[in-house]
């Protein structure tokens, strides 16, 4: 406990906690929709795209690489998700194609052009985000807080529309809801979250942030509202405790958060079995 308090005196630890909790919150809000739309792997796919974009930015000497990565990722997300269930290529197949291409391209470029001697180390930290979260700049933190506020506000504002479009897209379309607009909105938000989240857990583990809280909440609760609220709360708790454990025990941040999410999932599965949907 005293160790934790002494750590909290370092601004970078506080920054990491704030950013971590906010990203976990945003990811879990959209997670419910993405899981239900069978786009669980979108987080993974987009983070590979972002990884490829970062590599290209590094090789091409683009200075504002966050912005560049953001644009590339948003465009990919719109391509994958925008068509809704009318997309020509099946969702999972198109995600797999785009993500594998981006990953391969990114690794290839880093390998061929990298000036650093520790290529696999660099790649590894991009993929697993091992130390990045502790090296956040003030600007990063402010950007993350702003984006999180926007995401949460958009989500609350469009909550009922997101429900309608996710539950029955045809009905929503037929009765005058502009389903395409909301599909694009969801795509753009998730892309922004993925780019931000790469700093926290690295690109490989983003899917965990998107999928686990939603899946855990769905074990126990049976209405959309309860599932959404539960997964948001759960995600925040897991991210916070995961980071605290990581700091105290000196374990990698991303993997530790995922492990807490797994533990929560197991607990919720057991609770779900016991209550049998009576909540």
């Amino acid at each position: 406990m005293t160790k934790l308090i002494s750590y909290l005196q370092y601004p970078f630890v506080r920054n990491a906690l704030i950013v971590g909790v906010l990203i976990a919150l945003c990811a879990s809000l959209l997670g419910v929709t993405l899981v239900l739309k069978r786009f669980s792997f979108i987080g993974d796919g987009l983070s590979h795209v972002a990884f490829g974009a970062i590599s290209i930015a590094a090789v091409a000497g683009i200075t504002n690489d966050t912005l560049f990565t953001m644009i590339v990722t948003v465009v990919s997300a719109v391509l994958i998700l925008g068509g809704g269930r009318y997309a020509k290529i099946k969702g999972d197949a198109s995600i797999a194609m785009i993500s594998v291409s981006a990953l391969a391209l990114g690794y290839l470029l880093t390998n061929v052009f990298s000036t650093s001697s520790n290529v696999s180390g660099d790649v590894c930290s991009t993929l697993f985000g091992s130390t990045l979260i502790l090296t956040l700049s003030r600007a990063d933190v402010i950007l993350c807080i702003t984006v999180s506020i926007v995401v949460v506000a958009l989500f609350i504002f469009f909550y009922n529309k997101i429900f309608a479009v996710t539950f029955d897209e045809d009905f929503a379309r037929a009765t005058g809801t502009r389903a395409d607009v909301y599909n694009y909105l969801i795509a753009i938000i998730i892309a922004v979250i993925v780019v931000l989240a790469m700093n926290l857990v690295g690109s490989l583990l983003i899917s965990a942030l998107v999928v686990f809280p939603a899946m855990s909440a769905m074990r126990v609760f049976k209405s959309f509202k309860k599932v959404t609220i539960c997964s948001a709360v759960l995600s925040v708790i897991c991210a916070f405790s995961g980071m605290v454990i990581a700091i105290l025990a000196g374990t990698p941040v991303g993997s530790t958060i995922v492990v807490t999410d797994i533990v929560a999932f197991v607990l919720f599965s057991i609770v779900g079995k016991i209550t049998e949907g009576r909540i």
């Binding site: 239900l36 529309k161 949907g277």
Partner: protein
């Protein structure tokens, strides 16, 4: 002016044509039944009228102030995800979605109306239950209640009585008749229940070898 006007419509998919040169006018207050054997294109016609599919040729125009957000719709099969967590309440009230525009939440009147529609279909006790855990007939009633929330001028129903028991079916027909007469809501219903079609409809559209329309006179 006609509420819905189909001009020289060709229906079908990439590889098959289901109907050609279909001309049709549906006017406010009418009660249409669409009949025909399986696979003749009834559901396709309805989806085309709703704008969910593009016609292969021809046009569909809405008149008389008809907008998408005063159409109620009951799909024949809903492709919802099997594990979707949604309560009966949430599903029914989502029928109002098209009407809310940019307003983020449902207002008092909408909540009240949703509650009444839930009651009309005898779902009051199931209101907080999970949609996916209901029986087939109960699910059908939930979707009918949702369609009622969405409607304002037109109600399009694709085989609404499928899965309903005889008592609920009878109540349902009476309810639709009442909505049609008293609230002046135009009804377009696909049905295999020919007897009920004769009894309630003002017009019948039959998909057969040829597509025919018939006006039914009630005294």
């Amino acid at each position: 002016m006609a509420l819905i006007k189909c001009s020289d419509l060709t229906l079908g998919y990439e590889n098959i044509v289901l109907a050609e040169h279909l001309n049709l006018e549906v006017n406010s207050g009418e009660y249409w039944c669409i009949t025909g054997e399986n696979g003749t294109g009834k559901s396709t016609f309805m989806k085309t009228v709703l704008g969910l599919r593009k016609p292969l040729a021809g046009t569909i125009s809405y008149g008389d102030g008809l907008e998408k957000n005063n159409i109620g719709y009951l799909p024949q099969q809903m492709q919802y995800q099997k594990d979707f967590p949604a309560s009966v309440n949430e599903v029914v009230i989502s029928g109002f979605q098209g009407k809310t525009g940019l307003r983020p939440f449902y207002n008092k009147a909408e909540k009240e109306q949703a509650r009444r529609n839930i009651e009309k279909f005898g779902l009051a006790e199931l209101a907080d239950r999970c949609y996916r855990e209901l029986s087939g007939g109960q699910q059908q009633r939930v979707l009918l209640a949702r369609a009622l929330c969405a409607t304002g001028k037109v109600l399009l129903l694709d085989e609404p009585v499928t899965g309903l028991d005889p008592k609920v079916t009878e109540e349902f027909y009476e309810l639709i008749k009442k909505i049609n007469r008293e609230d002046n809501i135009t009804v377009i219903m696909i049905s295999h229940d020919l007897e009920a079609c004769r009894k309630y409809a003002t017009h019948v559209l039959n998909f057969g070898e040829k597509i025919t329309t018939e006006e039914i006179k009630h005294d």
